[in-house]
Amino acid sequence: MELRIMTNESILNLKANLESYVKFYEKEDQQGLVEKAGIEFQALNKHVEDFNLDMSDPNPAKTEGTNIRLLYNRLSWLSPSAASDERLWAGLAHDHFWDYMMYRWKVDAGQSTDKKVNHIKQNYFFGHGKQRSLMTNPLARLWWLGHMLRDEENEEAPYALLEFVERDLNAISFPLFGSNMANNKRLLKAFLYTIMDLEKQYQVQISTRNKFGKKSDFVRALTIVNYMGGMNILDAISIETFKTKLKEQIRPIFQQASQG
């Protein structure tokens, strides 16, 4: 298959005139949209073996974990620099993965035009700031979660970290990747493996959803690591020291959880 990015001009034109093009998204008419809006694509100079994403579950949200693996395994060669480019994901959403987008992020015909336009902006393009969009654009998000959570050093289970996160994908990934600590993969891995170790040790599963204005156990652990990062340059300390200090600080969360 050919990977095609969308030109900047096409992105700007589409975004500025979405009201006029909403109907094509609604009717799932890809060809009509491309022709009417005069969308231009540019092929990337790299051949990729043809693949598609999983669209088999009646509940599309349930395919997320499988699709992270599918997409990242095929596109892991993309550089972070290329994968942070809106043109790539806007291109794929309107081209090769159009059917997947229609399955996962269909435009709801019952909504107001404003809402539909917003829905398209946020899912088919980068609808937020550049960093946040990597997690909110559905295709970029599949790649970036694969990129951040695949552990090449763990030969037996390279997706062990993803398995932990997909337990409650949104409730874990949004706060986790909203923290700058997680941009350092060495720290990210140490943080998640430490949580997994402690869960095993205390035979508990910590909570991941905030309830009644109370922070979840996971968010509490994340707050502690952010606090540690405010005092020290975590990137500059040895990973053993980081793990030891972290374990010491977050152990009470697991002790409490194990006592119910």
Partner: protein
């Protein structure tokens, strides 16, 4: 990671913005970003002149590091500054990169009062832990362009976009794209594309369309709102204008930039285009009269 001056530390810090130390200096100024084959080489002008900290560095208890963060590519790392430069694979970076030089502790130890410190600390000692900051310097940022653009060419940072639904002739959008978007309605777009190739009307068009957009952009650059700044710093247009300002000897970090009216700055950047537009208008009317 950016420098946060308001942050307080439980031990003295050698830096330019406080007086924990009465003597001594730490510099690690980013002097050049060199693009080599597949990496970026960041050159620093490093100097540490503070004997109590120099001893710590020599003994391996502390290390000068460069903290690099590129939020757009989710990249963050600390590089020990063992040479006068550090190398980063260029494919890991895109957009704005933050550079923060520091000296950090490599291990835990007790740090005692010495005569480089302010008298406030007389007789005190401090528990330093691994990862603690001991010295910090002014941060810097640089911009990695995926596609090299001619930044000196101001008009390249503007993009006219036809918006069929729009009633107003032109509106500006500084936040959606890397370029300054000038949304135009159908009529304006039609006239613009027929007129832009002709020499005389082009200057008029620049005055009518580009000039007000640039004034608005400069006004936003002067905003004191932290959030607005963070949004803008990611934009290519913002960095291009900053670069061009420096070419015409206006430093956007200095008060004089804030004091100078935005419309005056815009006219300098557009090489007096408003004046030229009046000349063009005059010539056009002369021609019209002659042909009558």
């Amino acid at each position: 990671m950016r420098l946060q001056r308001q942050k307080l530390y439980p031990h003295p810090i050698l830096t330019f913005y406080n007086d924990d130390y009465t003597k001594g200096e730490f510099t690690a100024e980013l002097v050049e970003v060199e693009l080599l084959h597949s990496k970026l080489r960041l050159h620093f002008n490093y100097a540490l002149d503070c004997p109590p900290l120099e001893v710590l560095v020599e003994n391996g208890k502390a290390t000068p590091i460069i903290h690099i963060e590129n939020s757009q590519t989710k990249y963050r790392n600390a590089f020990p500054l063992t040479e006068s430069y550090i190398d980063i694979p260029s494919q890991k970076l895109n957009g704005q990169v933050e550079v923060l030089p520091m000296i950090v502790a490599n291990q835990s130890f007790e740090y005692y009062y010495n005569n480089y410190l302010s008298d406030d600390y007389q007789g005190m000692s401090f528990n330093i832990e691994e990862g603690n900051i001991l010295a910090i310097q002014q941060d810097a940022t640089f911009h990695v362009e995926k596609e090299q653009q001619d930044d000196a060419n101001i008009p390249s940072i503007f993009e006219l976009v036809k918006n069929d639904e729009q009633k107003e002739a032109i509106t500006f959008d500084l936040y959606t794209s890397d370029k300054i978007i000038i949304n135009t309605n159908h009529d304006v777009q039609k006239y613009y594309s027929t007129l832009e190739d002709k020499e005389n009307p082009r200057k008029l068009l620049t005055s009518l369309v580009i000039f007000p957009a640039l004034v608005q952009a400069i006004n936003n650059m002067k905003s004191e709102d932290e959030e607005i700044h963070q949004d803008l710093e990611e934009k290519r247009w913002y960095n291009s204008i900053k670069k061009r300002l420096k070419d015409v000897d206006i430093n956007p970090e200095e008060q004089s930039f804030f004091d100078k009216p935005s419309e005056a700055i815009a006219q300098i950047l557009l090489r007096n285009v408003v004046n030229e537009a009046f000349h063009s208008l005059n010539e056009l009317t002369q021609h019209a009269k002659e042909s009558e």
